[in-house]
Symmetry: C2
């Protein structure tokens, strides 16, 4: 048995090669960037007018001038013009190039227009006022984004701005989700009383889908020979196997032996945690990685978010920020195990508060509908007090 931190370290030390693929920018959100992105021009590419109004030379204003004849108009989207007479002004639009010979923009709100003349109503101007100067945000050649960045809408804007209609993102390794247990039936089957519909694997699939990771489903019956044959075959086809069930101490929990038989080296079996204690992890030849999770739905869930997702993100260079939540009530948990407590969360004055959700244990997935995530209570303590902060793993977005 290993501790949660040992299990995490062992998993993180295993690497799995990830490929890359080109995606259209319109499909890229949520994926992980696999190439550096560089400014192909200055941003802004010119001294950019930031307000609608007039552009003048600050020298004339400093000399006391307040009335300006409009010499020309500079709209956005047209080549920059020049102010010929420094005693006059150019009417300018937001997004336009600042006319040569001007260094101040005065907003319409601060002038009065009389025919072709603008009367300035403010008594002070600052050089550069209402101008977004060339290259202020980025210089040509400057690194804008690094590989390992998750592409949010903000990064999409950047990619578009530098003209990347197509972008390299990381390709997730080929993964199989493998359920096991004779009690499970297909979703479209009306189960007999002793049977359950497969549900774990769909949750796992959905969680992977949320980061753009696809997977195929398989099922193993509780037969030693079938399990070996199928696992051997899956190891040929897939890089990552995520198994659910069959790793406890039960008479029909053949998975650990079968994995050994097909050449997967055990890195650990059992983690001192609840739920998810029977978690088995191993590696095969050629960089194959096998996560064999306990079959209880909540265990599967905890193990995916605590170990598999951070590991996958690490392969792509994503740095996850640690988060915490604050207990709203005392919790006692005496076994010498790390306890992943199911909580419902809310914000209160900037603090993420975590209210324990009572439930039927690791087999109770009905309960998860009230749950936003887990807080991780360390094995060394048994009393966890209201107001204390602990690491938090959330699985709801929005």
């Amino acid at each position: 048995m290993v501790s949660v931190n040992e299990a995490f370290q062992i998993i993180q030390s295993v690497s799995c090669p990830v490929g890359t693929e080109a995606l259209s920018i319109a499909d890229s959100v949520g994926h992980i960037l696999a190439e550096p992105v560089v400014a192909d021009r200055d941003f802004p590419p010119f001294n950019r007018v930031a307000m609608d109004g007039i552009a003048i030379s600050s020298k004339s204003f400093q000399a006391g001038q307040r009335e300006y004849e409009i010499e020309a108009i500079q709209p956005a989207g047209q080549p920059g013009i020049k102010l010929h007479d420094s005693q006059k002004c150019v009417e300018v639009m937001t997004g336009a190039m600042l006319p040569e010979g001007t260094d101040v923009v005065i907003r319409y709100e601060d002038i009065e227009l009389k025919g072709n003349t603008a009367l300035v109503k403010i008594s002070e101007v600052k050089k550069g006022m209402n101008i977004h100067p060339q290259a202020q945000d980025a210089k040509t050649g400057e690194a804008l984004l690094k590989p390992g960045q998750r592409i949010s809408p903000a990064e999409v804007a950047l990619l578009a701005a530098v003209g990347k209609a197509s972008v390299q993102v990381y390709l997730f390794p080929k993964a199989a989700i493998v359920s096991s247990g004779n009690e499970l039936v297909e979703l479209n089957v009306v189960p007999q009383r002793h049977q359950l519909r497969r549900s774990n694997v769909y949750a796992l699939f959905a969680a992977m889908q949320e980061v753009g990771w696809g997977a195929e489903f398989f099922h193993l019956h509780d037969s030693e020979s079938e399990i070996e044959t199928v696992l051997a075959d899956l190891l040929k086809q897939f890089n990552v196997l995520i198994l659910s069930g069959g790793v406890s101490k039960g008479k029909f929990d053949f998975i650990p032996q079968a994995l050994a038989a097909v050449g997967v080296e055990r890195k650990f079996h059992q983690v001192s945690q609840r739920p998810g204690k029977p978690f088995w992890f191993g590696t095969g030849s050629d960089g194959k990685v096998v996560f064999a999770l306990p079959g209880n739905p909540v265990s599967t869930y905890v193990c995916y978010y605590r170990y598999i997702l951070p590991w996958m993100m690490e392969q792509m260079g994503v740095v996850l920020k640690p988060e915490q939540a604050i207990l709203t009530e005392d919790v006692t948990f005496t076994p010498q195990l790390t306890y992943f407590l199911q909580v419902s969360t809310f914000f209160k004055e900037g603090k993420r508060m975590a209210r324990p959700v009572p439930g039927g244990g690791s087999g109770d997935f009905v309960n998860l509908k009230e749950v936003d995530g887990f807080i991780e209570l360390p094995a060394e303590k048994s009393l966890f007090k209201s107001g204390e902060a602990y690491p938090y793993i959330g699985f709801r977005h929005l």
Copy 2:
């Protein structure tokens, strides 16, 4: 000019009919549930063995018995059997039906097996121990999920468990994203010095995509007649128009007049906020809704997350939980406007801390790559102190 709260209320009071569609469970994650989901059986459907071990009758144990002959084995996935001799036991596997005549499960860890006999090593047992009782999590007919629930992997598990291979989700209204401004060129064009690549609309598209909302792109040149014709046409084809640009005070900002001309009723123009002050909102006949956002990238972004997304979610019955973040330093902002401050966030002992990100103003989208979201600083104050909590809108998930 209206306040941020007035703008929000006006928008929320406008309703837009949303349809529904059936999705395969495998495609449902991230969508909004449009039907109630009910337990089609008890969960668990039977008294479920929660640990591998033996099942006994607690009466025999209470009478002092510690040695139990194994009468039978009860694997998971097989019809429930019965313990015939109450002095014996049944070997049981996790997930199996609890044998009739037993009411306690003792784990393998707590027994010693000698041939066909189990010797119990613990001195106390509680009725129901290591048993997940029938219907503890949900009873047949019980409401499990309500419409308006965003489907996370946890809900996917529930849907699978009740056999919903296909599920009704809300269908987003048909939306057009409409950029404007002669300075904008297509992504695959090398812009001339006075031109910019369209980037706003891609960010908007990506943000909508993250909640499953599709959109089509259009562009308007700065021509009054073209704008009117195109808008009239778009109003026929789409339910929601999101325009970017052309609503400021500039000479070529024809959008508000054009919208009036094609029969869209203005609900407000200008919100006392920065960025995003020129925001225009109106409604057409037949439930058409028009958001005309300022063209600055950061303004577009703020308006989408502050107004459009919550409005859309409201149409589908989604209740968003308010969040806050805590300033890491003093901020001064004197204009009488609500200030959406760009921040980078991190967690510290359960508190979400918000560090202001200095930047080039509303036109600076390069900067957004460092930003996780916005905090909303109210118009009534001008000094916002380190340690104070303010409403937070985040746009990064993971």
